[in-house]
Amino acid sequence: MFEPQIMCFLCKWCTYAGADLAGTSRMKYDPSGINLRVMCSSRIDLQHILYAFRQGADGVFIGGCHPGDCHYVEGNYKTLRRSILFAKMLEDLGISRKRFRLEWISAAEGRKFVQAMNDFTAQIAELGPLNLDKMTLNNQKDFSHE
């Protein structure tokens, strides 16, 4: 059975803390996603997302604070604006925009994090593997960050 790989970028103040809360509440969810903690969701750039897909991710998830709650005043709005562009560019590159998701999850929303993870994993499972890494494997050497 296909087991998706999901790259999750979580803001330190809200969604990462929400994921921690899911843990302290012992909620269970699909283990397909692995989290990378950033200070703010606005730290994430298109190249991080593309890189994740090239490294074999089947889906990329960004979690940030709810609008108005950003620790850095308006970082999440920047993320929101960028994510619209991200989704468009992904489509242009032949990657379904359904493989990318942005969610606002607060430190109090452990349950929402669990639901988002399960839901997104199911969605990716339905889409099937992306295999971008295999498609572009021959070009790996050219990639400067190797």
């Binding site: 790989q5 790259m7 803390a17 994921a19 921690d20 899911a22 843990g23 302290t24 012992r26 909620m27 269970k28 969810y29 283990p31 692995i34 989290n35 990378l36 903690r37 950033v38 200070m39 703010c40 606005s42 730290r43 994430i44 750039d45 190249q47 991080h48 890189y51 994740a52 490294q55 074999g56 991710a57 620790h71 850095y72 005043v73 308006e74 970082g75 920047k78 960028r82 669990v114 960050h145």
Partner: protein, 656 residues
């Protein structure tokens, strides 16, 4: 690689956390999997890493294995990151050389498939190894503190703030745009729920402020701009020309007597007149006349010049100029107060058409012993004693559709006070209050309200008034008594509107420049609504009084003192330490496009036009990294979270 190009020696310590981790994750396998992974020269596991034996083991291993950084694979970094930072500091390492791999909250506790959880743990730990491999050793950024505060606005909140800061032993600049300090509180007659005379309790505070050696009062001054950062602000202050030297003025009133220009008196809410050269009120601080240039006939002695002629101490100087000067402060208390919602917004009440339809502050002046009627309740139009007074609450408040959505909080109590005081002045008069809800949440407030009903027999009618108009010399009020289900039309001699409180005109423009955010209603936003209620999100700015939202006097005074406690925290520090994980600029890569400048919410970045590159004020940078994501050339890299670090971590996570 570390800074010297030498491969790092990394130690990996996997915690069992009893069975919390080990019950699901095969910790031994994790430790084994990390052996020999890039840069890892030591890897082990232990039952409780955070315990004293666990900490000692880490300490000894660092020494024995000559490690220069470590990974602790355990619980969430929010729990023990600090703990392990102290451990490695003891071993002589830089605290930025430890990273926590969260394999409990985000792995063992949320998954039950042991195989999958173990594989996930390995990937998480590897990703942290990749990060620490490229971590720089950092020192906190240190800055000095100017132990001197600026207080903007000298009403009760500003005066209280200034006095408290001064009593802490720090210098204060108290800036007030009006000719005297005192704000709205000095205009009030008596205060609820104790009925203290406002002037009696306010005047001593004003005098105290004026005499305090640590307070410099700057009335008739306005703050132009503030630059810099917490602990180190530069403030531009504009002095408006007063044309009277406060040191020479003896308040003899000779100038006022001869001044031919009569204008409406702001202190009395336009209910009386003053001259163009005037003392705002007898207890004004500073005790000096001010020449109001907008209403003066002209400073040329040819046109008038009468005041200068009669001024014996020669205090009047027609050549006084507006000046702008700069001061340095470390903290700013914003206590700019409130305005009342403009009556013109209420066309259905006639706007400002009817002289005898007034707002609460006007009624305060009418009630005040020092007011335009000498403390007798007389109505503005003809000076008659009103026998029927209608008080209308929630004028512009609690009305999201047409006016302001919020409750103005103090009107229930002051209306109750108004009705009570009116009845004390005119015992045979009728006081009727139209209300929607009566909110008396404060110490002794409910008792006060009930006294108004029990003892002073004020009639409370539950319903919102829809129309107020004049017919002959009577004012007609259209209300409703929702308790009996009757529409009510009644005659009144005087109508007092409890107008909504609103942000002071112009304050938001100033604060926008200071990057202090405000909410949808214009009130200043606190850093956290529960836990940081007196701080602004912008470090070094503190909030006091109604600029932050409607408040009564006790609450304002409490907030002012609380804000000052926070100022004290700041001033008590030798140096301010700032997180060094900021986003500097690699000048060789920067193309000077300025995108990061516009994206930074803290104004930490600016374009150096000469060099064509961006300069970063690291003290202002809060390290969100939004600029690093936006930088097209890679010149903006966040310390210890560079793009290369993120790429390596992503690779470790996805490729194991």
């Amino acid at each position: 690689m570390n800074g010297n190009g030498k491969k790092k020696r990394i130690g990996v310590f996997v915690c069992h956390c009893g069975v919390n981790i080990a019950g699901v994750v095969d910790v031994e396998r994790v430790a084994k999997a990390l052996e020999g992974y890039s840069g890892v020269s030591f890897s082990t596991h232990y039952i409780y890493m955070c315990s004293e034996p666990g900490q000692n083991m880490i300490l000894e291993t660092i020494r024995e294995e000559k490690l220069d950084s470590i990974i602790v694979a355990a619980c969430s970094p929010t729990l023990h990151e600090k703990t392990f930072q102290s451990v490695i500091e003891l071993a002589g390492l830089n605290p930025y050389q430890v990273e926590i791999a969260n394999i409990r909250e985000q792995d063992s506790w949320v998954h039950s498939d042991k195989e999958k959880a173990t594989l996930k743990a390995i990937k998480i730990v590897k990703s942290m190894v990749e990060k620490v491999l490229q971590n720089e050793s950092l020192e906190p950024i240190r800055v000095g503190v100017t132990r001197r505060a600026l207080v903007i606005g000298a009403g009760i909140s500003g005066i209280q703030s200034a006095l408290d800061i001064a009593d802490h032993g720090y210098e204060v600049l108290l800036v007030e745009k009006n000719p005297s300090i005192g704000g709205h509180m000095i205009q009030l007659s008596e205060t609820f729920p104790t009925l203290d005379c406002s002037q009696c309790i306010m005047t001593p505070k004003m005098v105290e402020a004026s005499r305090h050696p640590n307070i410099r009062i700057l009335t008739y001054h306005e703050v132009e701009s503030i630059s810099g950062y917490v602990g180190n602000f530069k403030v531009k202050i504009r002095k408006k020309p007063r044309f009277v030297d406060p040191d020479k003025c003896t308040m003899c009133a000779d100038c006022e007597d001869v001044c031919p220009q009569i204008v409406s008196d702001e202190f009395n809410m336009g209910l009386s007149f003053r001259k163009a050269i005037y003392l705002p009120f007898p207890q004004a601080v500073p005790g000096t006349y001010t020449l109001d240039i907008e209403n003066c006939l002209g400073l040329l002695p040819i046109r008038c010049g009468k005041c200068k002629e009669v001024c014996e101490p020669d205090a009047i100087n027609y050549d006084d100029q507006e000046t702008v000067f700069e001061e340095e402060v470390g903290a700013v208390v914003v206590s700019t107060g409130y305005d009342l919602y403009d009556l013109n917004h209420l066309g259905e009440f006639g706007g400002e058409k009817y002289e005898d339809v007034i707002n609460g502050l006007e009624f305060e002046r009418i009630l005040s012993a020092s007011g335009p009627t000498g403390g007798e309740v007389r109505r503005p139009s003809d000076g008659k004693v009103p026998k029927n007074v209608v008080f209308i609450q929630c004028c512009g408040s609690r009305d999201p559709e047409n006016h302001n959505p919020y409750c103005s909080k103090i009107c229930c109590m002051y209306t109750s006070k108004h009705a009570m005081l009116y009845k004390h002045h005119v015992p045979d008069g009728n006081a009727t209050v139209f209300y929607i809800d009566v909110r008396t949440g404060g110490k002794n407030f409910e008792e006060f309200y009930q006294r108004t009903i029990d003892e002073d027999q004020v009639l409370y009618v539950r319903g919102k008034v829809s129309k107020v108009y004049k017919e002959g010399d009577k004012i007609i009020v259209w209300g409703v008594d929702t308790l009996t289900g009757r529409k009510i039309e009644m005659e009144a001699d005087l109508v007092v509107l409890a107008m909504s409180m609103v942000q002071t005109d112009g304050v938001n423009e100033l604060l926008k420049k200071l990057r202090i955010s405000s909410d949808a209603n214009g009130w200043l936003s606190e850093a956290h609504p529960k836990l940081r209620p007196v701080e602004s999100l912008n470090a070094g700015f503190y909030l006091a009084g109604c600029a932050h939202g409607p408040k009564d006097i006790p609450e304002t005074v409490s907030q002012a003192s609380a804000a000052v406690a926070k100022v004290g925290d700041l001033f008590a520090q030798e140096q301010l330490l700032h997180e060094p994980t900021v986003v500097p600029v690699d000048e060789d890569l920067c193309s000077g496009c300025g995108i990061c400048v516009t994206i930074c919410p803290y104004s930490a970045r600016e374009l150096d036009k000469e060099k064509g590159v961006v300069k970063v004020n690291e003290v202002l940078c809060e390290g969100c990294g939004a600029c690093a994501a936006a930088c097209p050339s890679g010149a903006a890299q966040q310390r210890n979270q560079t793009d290369d670090q993120i790429f390596s971590m992503v690779r470790a996570i996805l490729r194991g």
